[in-house]
Amino acid sequence: MTRFYVNISKMSTWMLTLNHRCLSSKVPAKPTWKQIDPSTLPKPTTIDEATISHLERLALVDFNNQEGIERLEKAIRFADQITLVDTTGVQPMDSVLESRNTYLRKDEVTEGNCKQEILKNAALVEEDYFVAPPGNIPLKKKEKSYRPKT
């Protein structure tokens, strides 16, 4: 949270020097600082190997090394600060447009019939089908451990 405010402050300073006015009343003109007592935060999260392989599978990203895990743990630690914000009585918001209605389109065929263009993106095509790897094959479970041996 601290870092967030620093960035905003940089931005608003920049805007002030350029225009001498604040573009949005919602953006504070000056940064505010608040020391957070780490003991008020939830317990630090440690990531086990099973979680890592699950995340790798979901994100299709390879964490690769211990450094990656540490970075992830730090990111979670940083995000832990948000738990200190009091949200009692505040409804969660999906989107800034949620007070509007979703737009309704007429039921008419206006798109499609563009097989050639669609298939341009395919690495491999066979008889107008996209070619993909077979079935739903789970990523191979890696045997290596990311945890340092203690």
Binding site: H54, L58, L60, D94, S95, L97, E98, S99, R100, N101, T102, Y103, L104, R105, K106, D107, E108, V109, T110, E111, G112, N113, C114, K115, I118, L119, N121, E126, E127, D128, Y129, F130, V131, A132, P133, P134, G135, N136, I137, P138
Partner: protein, 544 residues
């Protein structure tokens, strides 16, 4: 994704607060009876269904691509369906209306505000990497519909049952994958990707495969009647997932392990897949083995369910609100405001008043107006156009004998229209000709066999004479001359003395009354023929 995007639901049967205590009690009593009827060797099954019904719309749920079945591969794909960057979903108004209509037909509460969510999967036939669905606030909830359960081989005793609908949600369909294990690849057709589905989720209210099948049949009838879905299961327009659990009679249903059967695409298949699963559970449980909480596929060819190995891993769908779609709001006459553009408003009251009558309403009307039995109503509802035809014939002359009209329509006219594969309203036997034939039957001036001959003329010989003229010219009037029939009977007796002997000794009935009808080209009054035979030969009494 092998095209179902179902998921496990809480399987506890929670009665809604709106149900009165009386209703809950009678239901519980009835439930007990049904359980004991369907129990097998001390075991009973509880089944919940999820039905994916393709919405009958011209274009897809969030894109303007077409929705025809069996279109050229990858030719009904918009940039959104192929998940190209920079595209955004725009809701198809018709799909939302059909969702509301279905909710009303299934007795649901229509949520005035419903939201869209993303459900994530990794499948080659889902290019977005997620399906837009309605997880938190679906379009409709808490419905209930009656359905009729006809016991096999006993069409005379339908039981009226009722099933509760948990909710109905709008969602996108996935593309189709063709697996080619030999070349080690799968072929992807995105024509179906993004087509509109309704997922209709029931409470676990079924106690056997047959009950579940009867419900699906009724649901199919409702959806086709209101025009929400083509209902053609063979084309995948309706796909059924069943969640089955088995427990000991007397133990709570929560003791059974749930197994989900995916993608059953025929009504018989629903009954068979569930019954197979019931037996499989029992045999495993009796051996003391554990049932795995898994997803299985139904193999219609071998009538068995098979474990779907790639589904073993617990899915992490990572549901999240769909940020690109504001909520869908539904209005009624009270909440309607004039500053909304009419083409942006869906009014639930308007939809309700313009909806076609549901099958249950039609059944009740037919029973009340014509005193038809439930089975006859069911037959009329399930064969297209017959209800209108029947009503038109009866409206033309309300004094007509309903039993004769029904018999002539379903036993004779339908056999011709089915053979020629034409709808009843396109039949060469129109309402006037049909009505005239009915009247001749009612006044006992022709026989059913002659009625069949008349229809044969219209269908096969392109004859266009009015009924009476045809009967007159062909000399097809009924033979009620007793002496003439007696003559035939005497002749038959003289021809086959052996049959006469067998009949009189009680070995075998002679069947001369039928022979007389045949010898008179179907013109002899069959009742009179039987009477004459009895008078001459004596009543047939089977020797014990």
């Amino acid at each position: 994704m092998s095209h179902t995007l179902g998921r496990y639901r809480r399987f506890t049967s929670n009665f809604q607060c709106s149900y009165s205590v009386y209703r809950a009690l009678t239901r519980a009593l009835h439930h007990g009876q049904r359980l004991s009827q369907n129990a097998r060797a001390g075991w009973e099954t509880v089944v919940g269904l999820e039905i994916h019904a393709q919405i009958a719309s011209h274009s897809k749920l969030f894109s303007g691509a077409g929705t025809q079945f069996a279109a050229p591969v990858n030719n009904q794909v918009s940039f959104l369906d192929a998940a190209l960057p920079g595209t955004l979903p725009v809701l198809n108004r018709r799909c939302a209306e059909i969702g509301v209509m279905t909710g009303l037909a299934l007795g649901c509460h229509i949520n005035r505000e419903s939201r869209f969510d993303r459900k994530h999967y990794f499948y080659a036939d889902l290019p977005q990497g997620y399906q837009i669905t309605q997880q938190r606030q679906p379009l409709a909830e808490k419905g209930e519909i009656p359905y009729y359960f006809f016991v096999a081989n006993d069409m005379k005793s339908p039981t009226k049952l009722s099933a509760r609908i948990h909710h109905i949600q709008l969602e996108q369909d996935s593309g189709k994958s063709l697996q080619d294990p030999e070349q080690n690849m799968s072929l992807i057709d995105l024509n179906r990707a993004g087509m509109a589905l309704m997922e209709i989720v029931t409470e676990p209210d079924f106690r056997s495969g047959e009950e579940a099948a009867a419900f699906v049949k009724e649901l199919q009838l409702i959806l086709t009647t209101i025009g929400a879905c083509s209902g053609v299961m063979a084309e995948g327009a309706m796909r059924v997932d069943a969640t089955v659990s088995v427990n000991k009679v007397g133990e709570p249903i929560s003791t059974g392990v749930r197994v989900e059967i995916k993608n059953v695409n025929s009504i018989r298949g629903v009954a068979k897949a569930i019954e197979y699963e019931f037996s499989r559970h029992i045999s495993l449980l009796e051996k003391g083995e554990k049932i795995a909480n898994e997803t299985r596929a139904f193999d219609a060819e071998n009538v068995e369910t098979i474990s779907m190995r790639d589904k073993e891993k617990v899915h992490d769908y990572r549901f999240m609100p769909e940020p690109n779609l504001p909520p869908l709001r539904i209005y009624d006459n009270q909440t309607l405001s004039s500053d909304l553009s009419p083409d942006q408003v869906i009014n639930v009251d308007e939809i309700r008043s313009s909806m076609a009558a549901t099958p249950e309403e039609r059944r009740l009307a037919l029973q009340a107006k014509y005193g038809l039995s439930l089975e006859h109503c069911q037959v009329m509802l399930t064969s297209e156009g017959t209800e209108d035809f029947f009503t038109a014939v009866m409206n033309a002359d309300t004094t007509r004998d309903i039993a004769i009209v029904y018999q002539l329509l379903f036993s004779i006219l339908l056999s011709f229209t089915n053979e020629h594969k034409i709808p009843v309203d396109k039949s060469p036997v129109d309402i006037v000709k049909f009505g005239d034939t009915v009247d001749l039957l009612c006044s006992k001036r022709i026989t059913y066999q002659v009625a069949r001959n008349i229809f044969h003329q219209y269908f096969e010989a392109a004859d266009n004479r009015p009924v009476e003229q045809m009967v007159d010219e062909e000399d097809w009037w009924i033979i009620t001359d007793k002496t003439l029939i007696e003559e035939h009977c005497k002749k038959l007796m003289a021809e086959s003395p052996k049959k006469v002997k067998n009949h009189k000794k009680g070995y075998r009935e002679c069947g001369f009354h039928k022979a007389i009808v045949v010898r008179t080209q179907g013109r002899a009054d069959p009742v009179l023929a039987r009477q004459v035979v009895e008078e001459n030969m004596g009543k047939f009494v089977k020797k014990k």
